[in-house]
Amino acid sequence: MSATGNPSADLPLRVKLAMFFRLLALQGSWNYETLNGTGIGFAMEPALRYLPGGIDGPAYRAKDHREP
């Protein structure tokens, strides 16, 4: 977390822009099973790369895990 207390403040501008444009495609994989779920994952993915360990880390790999 950043000094401001806002975790998104640490993200580079290009990541925020990437997330914004991905949000415009939020419903690209809308379906009757997970509804917007995969779209949310798609939109958040650029920021999740900054989790500890990067895209190979356990935090990133756990991002899409759903409890039944």
Partner: protein, 227 residues
């Protein structure tokens, strides 16, 4: 209409069909915009705008969000606009026949969206394990393929509708017996009835919206008088 003539319209229908849900929901898929753009493609934007207004009044009744099933107006607006703009000016049957073609297209295209969503769900089932294991590629692949298939779906619906309805509308217009005023009156009454029903629902479900509507009506009336 030969295939080559329908291709630019199909491309427009594909892009505007994509705008309905997948990307970017910029409201360019609303029939009033879609039909006007299609009319411009044919070389007659005022005709596209005319049928666009009629279709927009009918489209007001559907609220497209979430899991609700609704007509897909992006491709249908393009089909309606292109068909009406392609008819000779002043033909009495052009507006009702084009509107009917657009309504059928909207209904069929709406059904195709349900099929697409089931297809995405079935694809999700096959890749669920990889996605839940955190595979970036599986997630991106599912999402981008969903958008690509949606683009393809809208393009296919548009081109098939143009190929079927273009000669059909031309044939209907050629044998249409009623006069121009009567034909247009039927279309306007149908569209106004549906739009009136939509407004009635909104007036009874959203607070104070009636006053906003009346204020808008007043401003529009004043502008009309001032001209």
């Amino acid at each position: 209409m030969i295939l080559l003539e329908a291709l630019p319209i199909a491309l427009l229908g594909a892009l505007l069909g994509l705008d309905v849900v997948s990307f970017p929901q910029a409201m360019v898929s609303r029939p009033i915009v879609a039909a006007t753009l299609a009319g411009a493609f044919i070389g007659n934007p005022p005709a596209g705008l005319t049928i666009g207004v009629v279709l927009e009044m009918i489209a007001l009744d559907t609220l497209p969000f979430g899991a609700s099933r609704y007509p897909e107006w992006g491709s249908a607006g393009v089909v309606g606009g292109a068909l009406f703009a392609a008819q000779p000016h002043g033909m009495p049957g052009a507006l009702p026949a084009s509107m009917l073609a657009a309504l059928l297209t909207a209904s069929i295209s709406g059904w195709s969206m349900v099929v697409l969503r089931r297809f995405i769900a079935s694809r999700l089932e096959r890749t669920r394990d990889r996605i839940e294991d955190g595979s970036r590629n599986a997630l991106l692949s599912l999402h981008l393929s969903g958008m690509s298939v949606d683009l393809l779906r809208a393009g296919l619906v548009t081109i098939v509708a143009m190929i079927i309805f273009s000669p059909l509308v031309r044939a209907i217009v050629a044998v249409w017996g009623s006069d121009s005023a009567g034909s247009r009156a039927v279309v306007v009454v149908i569209a106004a009835t549906v739009a009136g029903g939509a407004l009635w629902k909104v007036f009874h479900s959203v607070a104070h919206v009636l006053w906003f509507f009346l204020a808008g009506l007043l401003v529009w009336g004043a502008m009309l008088v001032a001209r």
